[in-house]
C-alpha cells in the first residue's frame, strides 16, 4: 500500500493510500472519529452516520467510514456542524429504544453508552420510546432484545458477509425496521447455526449471551485467552470467567489467529460440558460388575499393579495404550512416554487411526511428512480450492465460513466433491458427486484430462517429482468416459473440474474423512497428492494437499509420537540412533519394535491383555462394535481416563476422572500445524486431575520418578527431543501460536511445507499412482443400501463430551438417518419415522430425516449419540497400510417399523 497521496485532517497534513477511507487514515493518525455500524471485516454500509465529517467542497457531510481519501482533501472532524449532527444521531438512537443500563448485560461494554458519555449528552431531546418488542430467546444461547437494537446492521453483515449465512436481515421499513430471521421466527426455528458472531458484533445490549446472563458484568469477570477444544481449526477465544464458571465467549479479533474473531456454535456455546453434572469427579473401581468410588491412591495402585502383573505374565507387548486427539500435547507426550517407558512397549496409538491415518501414510510417502502442507489461512491466497470428502462448513465451521466469504468477496472458486449436496456446494463453481468409494477414479480422471490437455506443470514435474511415467501410465486408463462409468460423474464435469484446477494460478486441496475412511484410503490420498504434484500446486502459498483433522489436537497427538512406529517428531523407533537418543533422554531402555495399532488392539482379539485408554471411545467410534465389545471384554484389565463415563469407560476396570481443557495449561496443535496455548481458567472439577498429573503419579507407582511441576516443563522436554518443535516454548507462545516446523528459538515457524524440497529420500515428490478398486462390501439384493457415517456441526466424534453441552444437545439431540426422498417413498417412510437399519454385523433403530441433499441408494448417519450404537453396522475391513477401517461404506437394509 503506497502512501502516495496527502490530505489534511483537522489541519494536520497526513499521507495515505488511495484505497483508504477517511476513517482509516484518521485512526492511523490518532484522530478519533466515533463509529457504530463500522465493523472490521465487513463492508461499510455508512448507516449510522456518527462518523460523519466535513469535507471541504462536499455538498453535505460525508460518512468517513466509506469515503475514500483523495489528494488534497481537507477534512474536519470536530466542527460544530459535525458535532451537532453526531449529537443528534446519538440522541435519536438513545431515544429509539430501551437503553436502560441498569439491567443490561452490556453495561460498561456498550458502544452507545460510550458515545453518550463521550459526547456528554444529559438526555435526549426526544421522548424515550421502547418499541415494546417481545424478548426473543426461545433458544438457550442467544437472547435478542430488539428494544435495544440500534439497527447498525453489524449482525446482519457478519452473518451474511463473514459467515456466508444470511440468516437475519432488515425487515419492515422506517422506524418499524427490525432485524429478523425469515418469517420472523426465533433463531432456533431459522437456518441459524448459532455461531454467535452476531452477538460478538453487537455494539449494544440487543444481542447477548443467554448462558452468561447475570453471570458477571464486564468489570467483574476474568478474561482468559485460550484455544477452542472442539475441532481442528484451533480458534482463539477469550473466555469470561466468573466464580469458576465460563460465561461469555468471544473470538479473538487478531490477525495472527486462524479464526480472526470467528467461532462456531461449539466454541461459542458448547463449552458448558465443562460444568456438566455428569462429569466424573472421583476415580471409580469396578467391583462385582458395578463401579465404586475410590481414592486416587487406591485406584492408581490397582492400575499399577495390574499393568505390572500383565507385563510380568505376558510381556510388555501384551499392553497397549490409546491416546486421544483431544488432550494437550503435553498430556499425550507424557502418555506415549508412559507407554514406552513404564509399560515398555511401542503399542501406543490414538483415535486418529479410525479416521485420518491414511493421510499420514500417503503424505509421508509422497512428500516426507504427514501433515497439512499449508494452512487454512493460506487458502486465502488460492484461486481455486478443491474440497473432497469434507463437509467443511460442519466439520470445521470457521474456516468453512471464511472460505465462503472468499468465494463471495474475493473471486475464489470451489470444486467440491461429495456424494451429498453439502452446504458448501451452494458456493461451488463445480460439484462432482461421485458414487461413494470411487475417489481414485475421479482423481485419476482429472489427471487424465490434465495430461491429455497438457495442462500440467512440466517444469515442476521435471524438477521436483519422480515416477511421473508410472503416473502417466496409470491415469491414461481413466478417460472421462471410463470415469463416468465408475463414478457416475458426467464427463463434462470431470473435464470442467480438471481445467479449473489445473489452470488456476494457485490451487489448494482440502479433504477429509470421505477420502480416508476406506480400505483404499491411502490410495485416495495419494491420488490427491499426485494431482497437486502434477500441477505444481505444492510448496507455495495457496496450494498443497491439506488434510482437515476433525479434532482439536489430532495433529499434535501424532506429532507427540502416539503412533506405534514413531517417537515424537516422526522419529522411527526402529532407527537405532533415534532409539538411543530417546533412551538417553528418558533414562531407560526402549523397545525398537514398532508397536501395534488401535485397530489391532481393539478389533483383533487377544493382541493385548491390558489396555490404557485416555479420552478415546472405541466402543462407539470403532467399526463393527459388537466385535470390539467382545474383544474388550476378553481383555484382562482396562483403564479408561476421561471426563465422562463413556461407553468404553463402562467396560473398564478402573476409571480415572480427567480434567477438561478449561482446568489445565497446555498446548494444542491445530490441523494446520499451529501450536497454541490452552490456559487454565477454572479449578478442576471434583477430584479430577490433568492427564499429565495422573501420568506422573502413575509413573511413580510404576517405579519411575517423573517430577514435572507444570506443563511448560514438559514442553521444554518436547522441544528438546522433537526437531519440528525445537523452538517452541511457553514464553514464545504467550504472544500467539507458532506453526511448526520451528526448529529453534529464532525460527519464526513455517507457513507452508516443501517450499524448496521434499523430505523424501530423493528430495523429490513421489507419485504413487493407484488403480480404482471396489470397496469391501457393496449393496446387494439383501442389503440394498450403502451406509455411511458422517459428522455434523454440533457434535464431534462420538459426542463423548459435546452431548453434555445443553446448547449443542438442544440444537442436535439425536443421530438421524439421512434418506433421499425417493428412497423414502419406496420404503414408505416419512420424516421422523423410526426405522430398523441392519447390516451383516448388527442392527440399530434410528429416526429418519428425509433430505434431498442425500443421493439415492445411500443412507447416512452421524454417530454422536450414546443411545444408538451406529457403528454396529459398519465393517471392520481395513486399509492395508494405514489399518483404518472402511467406515464410509457398508451394505445395509432399511426397514420401517
Amino acid at each position: 500500500m503506497d502512501k502516495n497521496i496527502s490530505l489534511t485532517i483537522d489541519g494536520k497534513e497526513v499521507t495515505a493510500s488511495p484505497e483508504q477511507t477517511i476513517l482509516e487514515v484518521a485512526r492511523e493518525n490518532g484522530i478519533y472519529i466515533p463509529t457504530l455500524c463500522h465493523y472490521e471485516g465487513t463492508t461499510n454500509p455508512g448507516a449510522c452516520r456518527v462518523c460523519v465529517v466535513e469535507v471541504e467542497n462536499a455538498r453535505s457531510l460525508v460518512a468517513s467510514c466509506c469515503m475514500p481519501v483523495s489528494p488534497g482533501m481537507v477534512v474536519k472532524t470536530d466542527t460544530k456542524r459535525v458535532m451537532d449532527a453526531r449529537r443528534l444521531v446519538i440522541e435519536l438512537l438513545w431515544a429509539s429504544g430501551d437503553h436502560n443500563c441498569l439491567k443490561c448485560e452490556k453495561n460498561g461494554n456498550c458502544e452507545l453508552q460510550d458515545l453518550i458519555y463521550l459526547m456528554k449528552i444529559d438526555k435526549p431531546r426526544f421522548e424515550i420510546e421502547s418499541p415494546g418488542y417481545e424478548i426473543e430467546d426461545a433458544n438457550s444461547m442467544i437472547r435478542r432484545d430488539l428494544n435495544k437494537c440500534i439497527l447498525c446492521g453489524r449482525c446482519v453483515r457478519v452473518c451474511s458477509e463473514i459467515r456466508g449465512n444470511g440468516v437475519i436481515d432488515f425487515s419492515m421499513r422506517g422506524s418499524q425496521t427490525k432485524i429478523v430471521p425469515a418469517f420472523y421466527n426465533d433463531l432456533i426455528d431459522s437456518e441459524c447455526e448459532f455461531c454467535g458472531a452476531c452477538v460478538q458484533a453487537c455494539p449494544v445490549g440487543a444481542l447477548t449471551f443467554k448462558q452468561a446472563r447475570f453471570g458477571g458484568r464486564p468489570w467483574e469477570v476474568q478474561k482468559v485467552k485460550t484455544t477452542c477444544p472442539h475441532c481442528g481449526a484451533g480458534c482463539q477465544m477469550e473466555l469470561w470467567i466468573n466464580k469458576d464458571r465460563i460465561g461469555a465467549v468471544y473470538g479473538i479479533e487478531d490477525d495472527n489467529t486462524e479464526n480472526r474473531g470467528q467461532l462456531c456454535v461449539k466454541g461459542r456455546f458448547g463449552l458448558d460440558f465443562v460444568h456438566s453434572e455428569e462429569r466424573l469427579t472421583k476415580p471409580l473401581i469396578k467391583k462385582n460388575g458395578g463401579f465404586k468410588e475410590a481414592s486416587w491412591d487406591e485406584a492408581l495402585d490397582l492400575v499399577a499393579s495390574n499393568f505390572k502383573k500383565i507385563k510380568e505374565k505376558h510381556g510388555s507387548d501384551a499392553l497397549g495404550g490409546i491416546a486421544s486427539s483431544k488432550s494437550t500435547n503435553e498430556d499425550v507426550y507424557l502418555f506415549q512416554k508412559f507407554i514406552r517407558v513404564c509399560l515398555g512397549t511401542n503399542n501406543v496409538d490414538f483415535c486418529t487411526r479410525f479416521c485420518h491415518t491414511p493421510s499420514a501414510v500417503a503424505l509421508s510417502r509422497a512428500f516426507g511428512g504427514g501433515a497439512m502442507t499449508n494452512s487454512m489461512r493460506l487458502s486465502e491466497k488460492a484461486d481455486v480450492i478443491l474440497i473432497s470428502g469434507l463437509n467443511l462448513t460442519e466439520m470445521c465451521p470457521v474456516p468453512g465460513a471464511l472460505t465462503k466469504h472468499l468465494v463471495t468477496f474475493d473471486n475464489l472458486k470451489l470444486i467440491v466433491v461429495d456424494p451429498r449436496r453439502i452446504k458448501i456446494i451452494d458456493n461451488a463453481e463445480v460439484w462432482l458427486s461421485p458414487k461413494i468409494g470411487t475417489d481414485v477414479a475421479w482423481t485419476n480422471g482429472m489427471m487424465n484430462v490434465i495430461i491429455n490437455e497438457d495442462l500440467y506443470d512440466h517444469d515442476f514435474v521435471e524438477r521436483r517429482t519422480e515416477k511421473f511415467d508410472e503416473l502417466k501410465e496409470v491415469v491414461s486408463r481413466y478417460n472421462p468416459q471410463k470415469v463416468k462409468e465408475i463414478t457416475g460423474i458426467p464427463k463434462e464435469k470431470i473435464i470442467e473440474a480438471a481445467r479449473l484446477y489445473a489452470k488456476a494460478g494457485r490451487a489448494s486441496i482440502l479433504y477429509g474423512m470421505g477420502e480416508t475412511q476406506h480400505i483404499y484410503g491411502t490410495d485416495n490420498v495419494s491420488a490427491l497428492c499426485n494431482l497437486a504434484l502434477l500441477t505444481g500446486n505444492m510448496g507455495k502459498e495457496g496450494t498443497g494437499v491439506n488434510t482437515i483433522a476433525k479434532q482439536n489436537n489430532g495433529q499434535g497427538a501424532g506429532d507427540m509420537g502416539c503412533l506405534p512406529p514413531i517417537y515424537p517428531g516422526g522419529q522411527q523407533v526402529s532407527n537405532p540412533e533415534i532409539n538411543k537418543k530417546f533412551e538417553k533422554a528418558w533414562g531407560t531402555k526402549l523397545s525398537m519394535k514398532p508397536g501395534i495399532t488401535e485397530s489391532d488392539m481393539v478389533i483383533t482379539k487377544g493382541k493385548v491383555k491390558g489396555l490404557y485408554v485416555v479420552g478415546g471411545n472405541p466402543m462407539r467410534s470403532g467399526p463393527n462394535l459388537n466385535n470390539i465389545e467382545e474383544t474388550m471384554e476378553d481383555m484382562d484389565f482396562i483403564v479408561v481416563q476421561d471426563m465422562f463415563l463413556t461407553e468404553t469407560a463402562k467396560v473398564a476396570d478402573v476409571v480415572l476422572p480427567a480434567c477438561s481443557f478449561a482446568e489445565k495449561d497446555g498446548t494444542f496443535t491445530n490441523t494446520a500445524r499451529f501450536i497454541q496455548r490452552v490456559r487454565k481458567v477454572i479449578d478442576p472439577v471434583g477430584e479430577s486431575k490433568s492427564d499429565w498429573e495422573i501420568l506422573c503419579e502413575l509413573s511413580r507407582k510404576m517405579g519411575y520418578e517423573w517430577n514435572y511441576s507444570h506443563p511448560k516443563e514438559i514442553m521444554d522436554e518436547i522441544a528438546s527431543l522433537t526437531p519440528p518443535y525445537g523452538g517452541v516454548s511457553y514464553d514464545r507462545l504467550e504472544n500467539g501460536g507458532i506453526r511448526w516446523p520451528c526448529p529453534n528459538n529464532d525460527h519464526p515457524g513455517t507457513p507452508y511445507l516443501w517450499k524448496e524440497k521434499f523430505n523424501t529420500a530423493s528430495g523429490k515428490g513421489v507419485f504413487f499412482p493407484a488403480d480404482y478398486n471396489p470397496p469391501a462390501e457393496l449393496p446387494d439384493e439383501e442389503y440394498p443400501f450403502i451406509f455411511s457415517t458422517v459428522k455434523e456441526l454440533c457434535h464431534l466424534h462420538t459426542g463423548s463430551y459435546t452431548r453434555y453441552s445443553k446448547a449443542l444437545a438442544e440444537l442436535s439431540p439425536d443421530d438421524l438417518l439421512g434418506v433421499n426422498p425417493s428412497d423414502a417413498e419406496k420404503l414408505g417412510i416419512t420424516d421422523g419415522d423410526d426405522v430398523k437399519v441392519s447390516s451383516r454385523r448388527g442392527e440399530i433403530m434410528i429416526g429418519v430425516k428425509i433430505s434431498d441433499r442425500i443421493p439415492e441408494g445411500t443412507v447416512f448417519s452421524t454417530f454422536h449419540s450414546s443411545k444408538i450404537p451406529v457403528n454396529v453396522l459398519t465393517i471392520d475391513a481395513l486399509d492395508k497400510l494405514a489399518k483404518t477401517p472402511e467406515l464410509k461404506i457398508c451394505a445395509v437394509k432399511v426397514e420401517p417399523v
Binding site: P45, V89, L151, M172, G174, S175
Partner: protein, 1018 residues
C-alpha cells in the same frame, strides 16, 4: 392496407381503464357490429391521453372530435348521432369550466392547446401494442442513426449538446452521466431504466410506458451503444401491470424485428433487456437501492462513492436513466441537439412532463416547455381550482420536494428556479393545493410518507423522520410547544446534511418549504391552537366552528333548530355573537366553505339557519348589568367592533360610553349595507339589546369635532378605537373630483342617511351610472342605484371569478338587470359643464399573476372606449379616516392609515391606554371579523386593567347549561342545500324590502338535518 372511414382512438391508459374505457370499447365494438359499421370505423386502444380527470376519453379522427366521460350507455346514441348522422354528440364534448363554452376538437381545448408534446408525441395516437405504429411515426429511426452513422462519442456529444438533464428529478446532465460510464473500464456494463415511479400523485412514467413503450426501449439501445453495454434492465414497479404488459409486448416485438437482442439492425451490436419488477418500496427509486434490489437483495441504498458509473449494478459500470429521459433520446438523435435545445430555459432544455393532480380542474398529464410558468400550468392547462376555491400552493417533487405558493405563480418552471424557491423539479409530480390545505398537516403527511418509506438503514432518516413526524403530529394535534419550529429546523438541516441517500436528504424539504412560506400557520397551531385552513381536526370540535372568527357553536344551534328549541339556539348564538341576526344575513360565512357536508353535496346553509333563529326565536329580555368596577372605558365608533367590546366590558362590570359620529349606531352595518340585505329594525333590535346592558351611546359625536381626543383621554381610563373604514379609495383618474363622481361608501352612507331625499329624487345619479369595482360595496352601490331606477353598469378590470364580492350578490345583481363589464378599467371621467358625462375606459387582458394569485390586468393598447354615464361610483376599496387622532397622542398610525398594534398584542395600540380594532386595524373586513376584534379588545383591556391592579384574571360566570340534543340520521342521502325564498325580481326594483325572505320552520328543520354533526365524538 385496409382503409377506414374513421379511426376511433379510445384511451386505454390506466386512468381511463379505471373509469371504464374497456367497457366502452366492448359496447362500441358491439354497437358498430350491430350497425354494420365494423368495416368503416376502426377502434384503436391507445395509451394515456393525459386528460385523466375526464376519462374515458375518445378521439374520433379525421376530425379530431374529442369526447369525454364516455360511458357504455352513451355508445348507442354516439354511434347513431356521430357515426351515422355525422353530428358530434354535444353533451359529451368538453365544456370549459369557467366560460362553459363547448369545445369540440382536441387542439382547441386549452388543456391540450398549451402543451408541447415531445416525450408524449405518440400518446393517444398509436396503439402501443403495435410496433409498426411506433415505427410509422419515426420510431427507431434515431436508434438506426445512432447505430449506423454515429460513434459512441458522437452519440454522447449529441446528448451533451442537447442539454438534456435527468428527468428523474436531480437534473444531472444525461450526456455527462453517459460519458462517465463510457469512460469507465469494464467488460460488462449495464443500462438501467428507472421506472419505479413512487411519488404520491406522480404517473408520468407509467403513462409513457403505457402509451409509447418503444420510445423507452429505443432510448435504452442508444444509451447502451453510447456506453458499450449489452445488457439492460427496466426496473418497473409491480403496481403498474399495464405498463409491464406493454413493455413485455414491446420487448418481444422489438426483438422479433431485430431491433433488440443480438446483432441489432445487422450492426453487430447486441443488447438484451430484462424487466425487473419492483416490490413497491419508494426507496427503490433511489439509484443504488434500485441496483441493490436488482441484485436480489433488500432494496437499500449504499454509500457513494463508488458511483454507479464506476461500480453500479453488480459493481459493474452502470447508467441509470429515468423513463422520461430515455423517451427523449431517440428524437434528440434523430432531430439533433439544436432542435431539442431550441426550447426551454438557459440551463433547462426541452420539455417536462408533469402529472397535474390535486385541487385542479383538469387532473392529468401535461407536457410543457421548460420555463412555462406555474400559473400557466395550473390555470391555463389545469383549468384552475375547482369549486371557486383559491389556489394556495403547488407541491413539486412529491415528498422530496417543496411547495411553490401563490406569490410565485409567475415562476418559470426549470431546475434552477424551482430550487431557488426551496422545492425540486422532482420527477414531475405537481400537486395543486387550494385554500383548504394546511401546510403543517401537509408537511406531516409527507413526513409520514418518508417515515414509512425510509428503508431504515441510516439513523437520520429512520429515527430523524420519525421524530420530526412526532413533532409535526404534536403541532397538528394541539400539543405543539414553543421551540418546536426551531427544533424542526435544526433537525431538518442535520438530516439533509447527514442522511445516507436522497430519500433521507430530501425528506425534510416539505417541512422547510412550508416553514418558509407558511410559518405563520405553524405559529397559529402552536400558539393559538388554531388551524387556519381548518384541517387539523384535533384542534377543533367542528370545522364550521373553527372557521368562524368568533368560534360560534354552529353544530349546537343547528341541532337545537332540529329539536325545535329556538330560544336555546338563540342563547347559544349570543354567547359568542352579539349580532347573530346581522351575521345571519351578511356574514361571509367561512364556516360554510369548510363544512364537511360540502364534500358530499353542498354545505349546510349555516347563515340562513342562523337568520332563521333570529327571525323566529322569541327575543330574550336583557337586564342591565351593574357597574362594579371603577375603571371607565370609552369606545370610539359604535360599529360591530366597538359595540361588541362595549358589551363584553359592560358584562365584566365596567362603565362604557360609546361615541358615534353618525346619527345612529351600527357603523358600516347601518350605513354601508343596504336595508334590502339588512333591514334596519333587525339591526336596531340587536343594538338595543346591547344598550340595555347599561351602555351609553353618544351619537352625532365626532371625536376631534364634538369632543376632543384629549378630553376623552382624561375622562376615561381606557379607550377603544374602532372607527371603521369609511372613506373610499381614489381611482386616481382624471376627473375624479367632478360632480357626479361618488365614492362607494360615501354614496351608500349618504343614501342611508338621506334615504327620503334620494327616493324623492332630490338627489340623483342621473339615468346611467358606472360603478367601478368588484367588491361587495360595488355590488351594494349598484343594486341601490338600480333600485333608484338607474341603468347600472359595473366595470371590473379582472375576470368575474376574480371578483371579491360574494358570488350570490353578483348573481343577484345580474338578476336585477345590472350589466357587468369585465376586463375594463377606467381611464378618465369625461365631464360636461363640470358634471360627469361619460367615462373613458380601457380594455384589459390578463397578464401574469399578482400576489393575490389572480391574473394582473394589463391594458390592451388602443382599446379605449367611452361610456356615456351621468355619474360614477368608485367602489374600489375603503380606508379608515383617522384624522381625529392627534399626532402626539402616542397612538401610531401606519402608512395605510391603519392603527399599529403593539408587538405581542392583538389589540393594544402603541399607547398603553388605547386599544384599537375592527376595520381600522385589519383594513376592510367582515362584520364577524369586527366582532372578533371587539371580543379581543375587551379581553385585552380587562386583562390590562387587572394586571395593573394585580388582580386575578377574569373568570366568566358559569354559562347556563343548555343540553345539546344528539340526533343523527343513520343514512345520509345526497340532498342539496335548501333554497332561500326570495322576493320576486319585479318587486325588488322598486323598493328596499328585504330580498331574502327567510326559511320556514319546516325548511329550517330539514336543512338542520343535513348537518353531519362533526362536532360529536362517537
Amino acid at each position: 392496407m385496409k382503409v377506414f372511414r374513421s379511426h376511433i382512438l379510445l384511451c386505454g391508459g390506466t386512468g381511463c381503464r379505471a373509469s371504464g374505457s374497456l367497457a366502452v370499447k366492448k359496447a362500441l365494438t358491439e354497437e358498430l357490429a350491430k350497425k354494420n359499421l365494423s368495416d368503416e370505423m376502426k377502434i384503436v386502444e391507445t395509451g394515456c391521453q393525459g386528460f385523466c380527470a375526464m376519462g374515458p376519453i375518445m378521439v374520433v379522427y379525421p376530425d379530431g372530435i374529442i369526447y369525454m366521460l364516455v360511458q357504455p350507455d352513451d355508445v348507442p346514441e354516439l354511434v347513431e348521432e356521430h357515426f351515422i348522422k355525422g353530428r358530434p354528440l354535444e353533451r359529451l364534448l368538453y365544456k370549459e369550466p369557467t366560460t362553459e363554452e363547448v369545445i369540440p376538437t382536441m387542439h382547441e381545448i386549452p388543456f391540450f392547446a398549451n402543451q408541447e408534446l415531445r416525450v408524449l408525441k405518440n400518446r393517444g395516437i398509436i396503439d402501443p401494442e403495435r410496433i409498426d405504429e411506433y415505427i410509422a411515426r419515426d420510431g427507431y429511426a434515431g436508434m438506426a442513426k445512432a447505430l449506423t452513422e454515429m460513434t459512441p462519442e458522437e452519440i454522447i456529444q449529441e446528448v451533451l449538446d442537447s442539454g438534456l438533464r435527468g428527468r428523474g428529478g436531480a437534473g444531472f446532465p444525461t450526456g455527462l452521466k453517459w460519458k462517465f460510464a463510457a469512460g469507465s473500464r469494464g467488460d460488462i456494463k449495464y443500462v438501467l431504466c428507472n421506472a419505479d415511479e413512487g411519488d404520491p400523485g406522480a404517473f408520468m412514467d407509467r403513462s409513457v410506458l403505457e402509451a409509447d413503450p418503444h420510445a423507452v426501449l429505443e432510448g435504452m439501445v442508444i444509451a447502451a451503444r453510447a456506453i458499450g453495454s449489452h445488457h439492460g434492465y427496466i426496473y418497473c414497479r409491480a403496481e403498474y401491470p399495464l405498463a409491464l404488459t406493454r413493455l413485455n409486448i414491446a420487448i418481444e416485438q422489438a426483438t422479433e424485428y431485430g431491433l433488440l437482442g443480438k446483432d441489432i439492425l445487422g450492426t453487430g451490436f447486441d443488447l438484451d433487456l430484462e424487466i425487473y419488477q419492483g416490490a413497491g418500496a419508494f426507496v427503490c427509486g433511489e439509484e443504488t437501492a434500485l441496483m441493490t434490489s436488482i441484485e436480489g437483495k433488500r432494496g437499500m441504498p449504499r454509500p457513494r462513492p463508488p458511483f454507479p458509473a464506476i461500480a453500479g449494478l453488480w459493481e459493474k459500470p452502470s447508467v441509470l436513466n429515468n423513463v422520461e429521459t430515455l423517451a427523449n433520446i431517440g428524437q434528440i438523435i434523430l432531430k439533433g441537439s439544436a432542435w431539442y435545445n431550441s426550447i426551454g430555459t438557459e440551463r433547462s432544455k426541452g420539455t417536462k412532463v408533469f402529472a397535474l393532480t390535486g385541487d385542479v380542474n383538469n387532473v392529468g398529464l401535461v407536457e410543457v416547455p421548460m420555463g412555462t410558468t406555474l400559473g400557466t400550468i395550473v390555470f391555463d392547462i389545469g383549468g384552475g381550482i375547482p369549486n371557486g376555491k383559491r389556489f394556495k400552493a403547488a407541491q413539486l417533487g412529491g415528498p422530496s420536494g417543496g411547495m411553490i405558493p401563490l406569490e410565485h405563480l409567475n415562476t418559470p418552471i426549470d431546475y434552477e428556479r424551482v430550487a431557488e424557491l426551496g422545492s425540486i423539479m422532482g420527477s414531475g409530480g405537481m400537486i395543486v393545493m387550494n385554500e383548504d390545505m394546511c401546510p403543517v398537516d401537509m408537511a406531516r403527511f409527507f413526513m409520514d410518507f418518508c417515515q414509512d418509506e425510509s428503508c431504515g438503514k441510516c439513523t437520520p432518516c429512520r429515527e430523524g423522520t420519525k421524530r420530526m413526524l412526532e413533532i409535526l403530529t404534536n403541532i397538528c394535534e394541539g400539543r405543539g410547544q414553543e421551540g418546536d419550529i426551531e427544533l424542526l429546523e435544526e433537525m431538518a438541516g442535520i438530516i439533509k446534511d447527514s442522511a445516507l441517500c436522497g430519500l433521507g436528504q430530501t425528506a425534510p424539504n416539505p417541512v422547510l418549504s412550508t416553514l418558509r412560506y407558511f410559518r405563520d400557520e405553524y405559529e397559529a397551531h402552536i400558539k393559538d391552537k388554531r388551524c387556519p385552513a381548518v384541517v387539523c381536526t384535533a384542534l377543533f370540535k367542528s370545522p364550521c366552528q373553527h372557521a368562524c372568527p368568533i368560534g360560534m357553536d354552529v353544530p349546537s344551534y343547528i341541532a337545537l333548530i332540529r329539536a325545535g328549541r329556538l330560544e336555546d339556539a338563540y342563547k347559544v348564538m349570543l354567547r359568542t355573537n352579539p349580532f347573530p341576526s346581522v351575521c345571519g344575513r351578511v356574514c361571509d360565512h367561512q364556516c360554510q366553505s369548510k363544512c364537511r357536508r360540502g364534500t358530499l353535496d353542498e354545505p349546510v346553509a349555516i347563515k340562513f339557519l342562523k337568520r332563521f333563529i333570529t327571525d323566529n326565536a322569541n327575543r330574550l329580555k336583557v337586564d342591565p348589568v351593574p357597574v362594579t368596577r371603577k375603571e371607565k372605558i370609552a369606545v370610539i365608533g359604535a360599529g360591530p367592533a366597538g359595540l361588541t367590546a362595549a358589551k363584553d366590558l359592560a358584562i365584566r362590570g365596567y362603565q362604557v360610553v360609546a361615541f358615534e359620529e353618525l346619527p345612529e349606531p351600527g357603523g358600516m352595518t347601518r350605513y354601508g349595507i343596504p336595508s334590502y340585505r339588512l333591514p334596519r329594525n333587525i339591526l336596531k333590535d340587536e343594538i338595543d339589546d346591547i344598550k340595555a346592558l347599561g351602555i351609553e351611546i353618544r351619537c352625532n359625536t365626532r371625536v376631534g369635532r364634538d369632543i376632543s381626543f384629549e378630553k376623552i383621554s382624561e375622562d376615561f381610563d381606557y379607550i377603544y378605537l374602532a372607527p371603521g373604514a369609511h372613506k373610499s379609495q381614489k381611482m386616481r383618474v382624471e376627473g375624479e373630483d367632478m360632480e357626479g363622481v361618488f365614492g362607494g361608501v360615501e354614496f351608500l352612507r349618504d343614501f342611508n342617511i338621506n334615504e327620503e331625499t334620494w327616493l324623492k329624487g332630490e338627489k340623483s345619479l342621473g339615468s346611467q351610472v358606472a360603478v367601478i369595482g368588484g367588491g361587495n360595496s360595488a355590488i351594494d352601490a349598484a343594486r341601490v342605484a338600480r333600485r333608484l331606477g338607474v341603468d347600472v353598469t359595473i366595470l371590473y378590470r379582472r375576470f368575474r371569478q376574480d371578483m371579491p364580492a360574494a358570488k350570490e350578490e353578483i348573481e343577484a345583481a345580474e338578476h336585477e338587470g345590472i350589466k357587468i363589464e369585465y376586463l375594463v378599467a377606467p381611464l378618465k371621467i369625461i365631464g360636461k359643464d363640470g358634471k360627469v358625462a361619460g367615462i373613458t375606459c380601457q380594455r384589459m387582458k390578463p397578464g401574469d399573476f399578482d400576489s393575490s394569485g389572480r391574473r394582473r390586468p394589463v391594458p390592451v393598447e388602443g382599446s379605449d372606449f367611452t361610456l356615456n354615464v351621468d355619474s360614477v361610483v368608485a367602489a374600489i376599496g375603503q380606508t379608515p379616516d383617522l384624522s381625529f387622532v392627534p399626532e402626539d397622542s402616542g397612538v401610531s398610525v401606519n402608512k395605510w392609515s391603519y392603527f399599529d398594534v403593539a408587538e405581542g398584542s392583538k389589540s393594544q395600540s402603541t399607547s398603553e391606554k388605547f386599544f384599537a380594532g375592527g376595520d381600522a386595524v385589519t383594513g376592510p373586513w367582515t362584520v364577524v371579523g369586527a366582532i372578533s376584534g371587539g371580543h379581543q379588545a375587551a379581553v385585552d383591556i380587562d386583562q390590562a386593567i387587572r394586571n395593573k391592579n394585580g388582580e386575578f384574571p377574569y373568570e366568566a360566570p358559569p354559562e347556563e347549561k343548555i343540553e345539546i340534543p344528539l340526533e343523527i340520521d343513520e343514512d345520509t342521502e345526497e340532498q342539496p342545500q335548501a333554497k332561500m325564498p326570495e322576493l320576486d325580481n319585479t318587486e325588488r326594483r322598486s323598493n328596499f324590502d328585504e330580498v331574502e325572505l327567510g326559511y320556514t320552520l319546516e325548511t329550517a328543520v330539514e336543512e338542520a338535518k343535513r348537518c353531519l354533526r362533526c362536532d360529536v365524538e362517537i
